[in-house]
């Protein structure tokens, strides 16, 4: 260490010093050292085109990693593949090699690349173009998206060998105009789907249907492309890929890429009030750790779970680390920043001008920001898969990297931080999609009919196609002639269908402090809680107060303010069961799965002081109620249990159990924590008993509740363990919730209720 500057020579030295500092180590619940990994190589495949081989050698690639070789072999054997290896393991070569090989062999071949975002597509084209130039081959790679100028579109349609686009563009621009893309569809040999894990939930369910349409159009033109997929680590890559593309897929997971030594440090903020089980704020602890790293000049990425957290952390960090060496910067990054701003930040990270970045999971995807050295995760990201993804942002092929996981006080975080083996030994979550969600499916049947008339005997998804077609005939958008159904309406169906829920309905945020300018946007579902009137909206570290929310016009007018609080909103919920599809009983508990109707309305918001996080006021929110028809899963306790506990105790017990369950449910689902909601009812209208409901927060459901219905026993067992294992006296935010919420006896009542109904518990 340099005594004058307090700086260490390298990260290893700093980590060694850290081990000797009790004020940090006392909070470390686990320090996992993942040893460096040697590379596993395979020779360049025989039969590789000489030009391609030369280009690889020119790039310094004399051999392949084992997974790259396996992928090449499988594709050449005509199989669909999904490559599942960690960040920065050379995944792109797994699909680029077979594609380039095919193009060198036959210049009439075409390939279609799909990325979930435009930014990713642009990175990809640069890389492919570089390889093509090295090979001096006539291979034209183009992005085709909303930014492509109309003048070059025709050239791309006719002559582009590799067309790089996104599912939205495929859905709304390419498929409905397939007759202009004859060359592509007649000759398409490979379809590349990268970042497969991003296609889950509603978006994934839409994308699966877009791919059904794509395959249908390919069949029309006589092609039968092979799908080359790549995914971050998830539990079910094969199953997920197969559901997405509707065909058999071979999983390639024999990762051969090397990696440097990696330290994964579980950090739990110290308890400041034993009685109430209150810990120091995870935000402040995150800031402290990140500031230490940044002062050492270590390029660091900080992940926070919400946009608000990102902004708060950014403010704190910019405050704490005023002077960075060489005038380097700390920046924020999240959805809602404008694309130009984002590109600039990505560039700054790659060339090192930006030393620190605070981001939401927006940077989790494969956007090229180079490899950083350290990662501080504020709060468990909600899934094992995304934790590894975020952690993967720090770590180079050689050299040490460190990740801190800083737990917040919510039960899931506390469970993970205190049971690190659960996180370390468990496979990541499953990516769930529900392509047969009736609303989604019908939308795509419409689009498909627009593209090509349906014929009797065709299939499309899991519903009976003919029923859907007849329904659309009644709706007067299709016209049946004998055994064919034709689109017969003036509208262009893809226009009204967005693949990303609510994406079309973003609220724009307009700053009216000086004139008026758009500073960002918020999706429809977040709007009631983030930009209701009087809310404090933080953008790039600056506070704004919402003065007016024009709900019909989807605009929020904000003015810059300087206050010492932020805001947090509450929702009131009502739930009705419409139809029961499945029912099971175990351990005295009846559980059901079916269709539910939920009505939700934001009620009040609280003002919470910065840093101390105390509640300093509140106000009403006047916004319309939202009605949601979706799928749900629920279970009830027996009447005897209800009688034993009495209404009040049952209330706190249910609330406590619901609090625990909603926090651990995401352990089993790969979803945003807001995608699944919980709702306890002491005397359920439907069950006439104490009941806890879960529902998918998307019309028609996306398969989350159904999965929970299947996992019911394990879920309750996990909840029991968590409550029993918690060190607090009578309830804390880390288990059943704080005493103010569940009462003094809440914890024991919840536990009692669960123990009584224990099935197969030890």
């Amino acid at each position: 260490m340099n005594r004058l500057t307090g700086k260490f020579d390298n990260l290893d030295e700093w980590l060694n010093d850290l081990r000797s500092r009790p004020e940090i180590m006392n909070n470390v619940t686990h320090w996992e050292t993942i040893p460096a990994r040697e590379a596993v190589y395979a020779p360049l495949p025989r039969g590789l085109h000489p030009k391609l081989e030369a280009a690889l050698r020119a790039k310094g690639i004399d051999r392949l990693y084992s997974h790259q070789a396996s992928a090449f072999e499988a594709v050449l054997a005509g199989r669909n593949i999904v490559t599942v290896t960690p960040t920065a393991s050379g995944k792109t070569l797994c699909y680029n090699l077979p594609v380039l090989q095919a193009l060198l062999e036959d210049n009439s071949v075409r390939a279609l690349y799909l990325f979930p975002t435009k930014a990713l597509a642009q990175d990809q084209v640069a890389e492919l173009q570089q390889l093509a130039d090295l090979m001096e081959a006539d291979i034209k790679t183009h992005t085709y998206d909303g930014d492509t100028p109309p003048t070059v579109r025709q050239a791309i349609r006719n002559a582009g060998h590799i067309v790089v686009t996104n599912p939205d563009m495929l859905h709304a621009a390419i498929l409905p105009h397939h007759t202009k893309w004859v060359k592509l569809f007649e000759n398409v040999k490979y379809i590349v789907l990268d970042e497969l894990h991003a296609y889950r939930g509603v978006f994934g369910s839409h994308v699966a249907n877009v791919i059904r349409r794509l395959r249908r159009i390919c069949r029309f033109y006589g092609s039968n492309p092979i799908f080359l997929c790549a995914s971050a680590t998830i539990d079910n890559p094969g199953e997920h890929a197969e559901r997405l593309i509707g065909d058999k897929v071979q999983v390639i997971d024999n990762n051969g890429a090397p990696s440097g030594e990696k330290h994964f440090i579980f950090y739990n903020p110290p308890v400041v009030n034993q009685q109430l089980g209150i810990r120091r704020s995870s935000v402040l602890e995150t800031q402290r750790l990140a500031a230490m790293l940044l002062r050492q000049g270590v390029q660091t990425i900080v992940f926070a779970r919400s946009r608000v957290r990102v902004e708060i952390l950014l403010t704190y960090l910019q405050d704490a680390v005023k002077q960075l060496p060489g005038g380097k910067q700390i920046r924020g990054y999240r959805g809602g920043y404008l694309p130009k701003q984002r590109r600039e930040i990505e560039r700054g990270l790659r060339n090192g001008e930006i030393l620190g970045v605070v981001s939401t999971n927006a940077l989790e995807l494969g956007i090229d920001i180079g490899q950083l050295q350290a990662c501080v995760i504020n709060g468990y990201p909600g899934t094992i898969a995304s934790t590894w993804q975020q952690s993967g942002r720090a770590g180079r092929r050689h050299g040490t990297a460190v990740t801190f996981l800083v737990a917040s006080s919510n039960p899931l975080d506390q469970y993970v931080i205190q049971n690190p083996e659960f996180f370390l030994n468990r496979p990541p979550e499953r990516a769930l999609i529900h392509p047969d969600n009736l609303l989604i499916l019908i939308d795509h049947v419409k689009c498909a009919a627009y593209e090509l008339p349906f014929e009797k005997g065709e299939t499309f998804g899991g519903e009976k196609l003919e029923d859907m077609l007849e329904f659309l005939v009644e709706e007067q958008v299709l016209h049946r002639v004998k055994d064919r159904w034709y689109w017969m309406a003036q509208s262009f169906p893809a226009n009204n269908i967005s693949l990303r829920s609510a994406a079309q309905e973003n609220f724009v945020i307009i700053d009216i402090t000086n004139g008026s300018r758009v500073i960002g946007e918020v999706d429809r579902f977040s709007a009631p809680t983030l930009i209701h009137e009087e809310a404090i909206y933080i953008h790039e570290g600056v506070q704004y107060q919402v003065e007016k929310l024009d709900y019909p016009e989807k605009k929020a007018y904000v003015r810059e303010v300087s206050v010492d609080y932020f805001t947090d909103a509450n929702m009131a919920v009502e739930l009705k069961v419409l139809h029961v599809d499945r029912e099971k009983e175990s351990g005295g508990i009846v559980r059901q799965y079916g269709e539910v109707m939920v009505n939700a309305r934001p009620t009040i918001f609280k003002k919470i002081r910065l840093r101390t996080h105390e509640n300093i006021g509140s106000g009403p929110i006047h916004l319309p109620e939202e009605e949601l028809h979706t799928s749900g899963y629920w279970f009830s306790f027996s009447e005897e249990a209800a009688a034993r506990l009495g209404t009040n105790a049952m209330q706190s017990a249910l609330l406590g159990i619901a609090n625990v369950l909603i926090h651990i449910a995401p352990l089993y689902l790969m979803c945003d924590p807001f995608d699944i909601r919980v709702y306890p009812q002491v005397k359920s209208v439907h069950m006439k008993r104490p009941t806890i409901y879960f529902y998918d927060r998307y019309p028609g459901g996306i398969g989350l509740s159904e999965r929970l219905f299947e996992l019911h026993d394990e879920l309750l067992e996990r909840a029991r363990q968590l409550i029993r294992g918690c060190t607090c006296l009578s309830g804390c935010p880390a288990c059943v919730g704080p005493i103010e919420e569940v009462g003094l006896l809440g914890k024991s009542q919840a536990l009692q209720l669960l123990e009584e109904t224990a099935v197969g518990a030890p």
Partner: protein
């Protein structure tokens, strides 16, 4: 399990979506079952025209009299069956200002207008032009937009023939396309109004969708009359819709016309109730479009073959005169264009046409007239208070760079600054105006130096 319809209704209730996906509901009330098909009144139909065997079909049952009332017969070919309405006009028929037989005299001149096709177009003969206008079920050229009526027109012998094929349902599209394919093969010039970007790309897609393949129809030479219409009338007509252009410039008045935008709704209603009667309006609308297309061909053919002032009246407005001249100039009719330009240049007073014409003259090196026009415009600007110093700047540039008369150049630049200041006092003073003034000041500075150097 509830029925699909019930499930959809519940889900939609919660999603807040509109039923029908935004599609037009032609019968307004919606939701009803299609009415029963009217039984064909066999035997009540007069026999199809004799001598036109292709349109007759002795096997299929006779058409409903409602069809025959519209003049519609059955069309059968190897790709199937659809309906056709055939109307013809003697070539001495007058439609608005023009007579159809004029086409024969001037069609050759349309070569200048041709685009697309394979290589440069030889001079068209009237009989080799196919006029075309589609009525479609929607907008745009997406795969789900179906032409339900294809109107074509062509000269055959001493008649102008209009054939309108109609499909009773989408399965008849193949027959309609086959019919068109044959007609296209015989006539390599395709005359349309916006057909280059709409009708033709759409048809190419339809050929592919119906299994004719990419090479079903060779790329025609396009005579797309929207483009010259835009060149000539963009500043003088309120709209460039065909119906507006024909009324304002071709002397054609339609009465009781069904607007083209209504056609899809009428067709959807027909698909529901199978009553052909309202389609009559669409047939007539399309028929008039075909005649108007022929008249536009004559209009532009006349213009391109020296007919201005003889067969086509001189434009009344100077702006249209200018645009016509500029267009003729581009089309290679330099003499006709020059005559118009001279006419304009000879005007006593200046007009907004001065500057565009001067710009054209500057481009082709006709400095003499360019300077005259600028001077005229500059004078008008000073005297009549035009708020534009553009002519002054042009003159200043001319005197600086070509005539090397820096004093004159300086004089015009100073006058330009004065005008710019006057204009600034009128409206909002913005960055653009400031930049403009700054540029003039720099010019004055430079000229002052140059002028001074000469003096010294």
């Amino acid at each position: 399990m509830s029925s699909l319809r019930e499930r959809m209704n519940r889900l939609r209730g919660s999603a807040g979506a509109q039923p029908g996906g935004g599609g037009a509901s032609p019968n307004g009330t919606g939701g009803g079952q299609p009415e029963c098909r009217q039984p064909d009144a066999a035997g009540a139909v007069p026999a199809p025209e004799a001598g036109d065997l292709r349109h007759a079909d002795s096997v299929s049952p006779a058409l409903d009299p409602a069809w025959t009332a519209l003049g519609v017969t059955r069309l059968v070919n190897e790709a199937g069956e659809c309906l056709v309405r055939r109307v013809d006009y003697p070539l001495d028929h007058r439609h608005g200002f023009h007579r159809l037989d004029e086409l024969d005299e001037c069609a050759h001149a349309l070569a200048a207008l041709c685009s697309g096709g394979n290589g440069p177009a030889p001079a068209p003969e009237a009989e080799r032009i196919l006029f075309l206008d589609l009525e479609t079920t929607g907008l745009g050229v997406g795969a789900g937009n179906v032409p339900f009526m294809t109107g074509i027109g062509y000269v055959e012998g001493d008649r102008f023939v209009i054939e309108q094929t109609l499909i009773r349902h989408p399965a008849e599209e193949r027959a309609m396309l086959e019919e068109l394919r044959v007609k296209l093969a015989e006539r390599p010039y395709l005359a349309t109004y916006n057909g280059r970007t709409f009708d033709w790309p759409l048809l190419k897609g339809r050929f592919i969708m119906n299994g004719f393949g990419r090479s079903a129809a060779a790329e025609p030479w396009h005579l797309d009359f929207l483009h010259p219409s835009r060149s000539i009338w963009r500043n003088t007509l309120a709209s460039l819709r065909l119906s507006h252009v024909e009324e304002e410039r071709l002397g054609i008045v339609r009465s009781g016309d069904v607007p083209g935008s209504m056609a899809p709704a009428i067709y959807f209603r027909f698909l529901q109730d199978e009553d052909p009667e309202p389609l009559g309006g669409v047939f007539r609308h399309n028929e008039l479009d075909m005649l108007s297309l022929a008249c536009l061909a004559i209009r532009f053919g006349r213009l391109l073959s020296g007919g201005l002032g003889r067969h086509v009246p001189l434009p009344e407005e100077d702006e249209e005169l200018l645009r016509t001249g500029l267009w003729l100039d581009r089309m290679g009719c330099a003499e006709e264009a020059e005559a118009l330009f001279e006419r304009l240049a000879g005007r006593e007073t200046a007009g907004p046409w001065c500057l565009p014409l001067a710009a054209r003259d500057k481009k082709c090196g006709n400095w003499r007239r360019a300077v005259l026009l600028w001077q005229k415009a500059a004078l008008a600007a000073e005297r009549q208070g035009w708020a534009s110093g553009e002519a002054h700047i042009e003159l200043s540039m001319y005197y600086e760079h070509r005539a090397k008369d820096y004093k004159q150049a300086l004089r015009y630049a100073s006058a330009a600054l004065e005008l710019a200041a006057r204009r600034a006092s009128l409206g909002r003073f913005d960055a653009k105006k400031r930049a403009e003034q700054d540029a003039i000041r720099r010019r004055i500075e430079r000229l002052t130096k140059k002028a001074g150097r000469i003096e010294a």
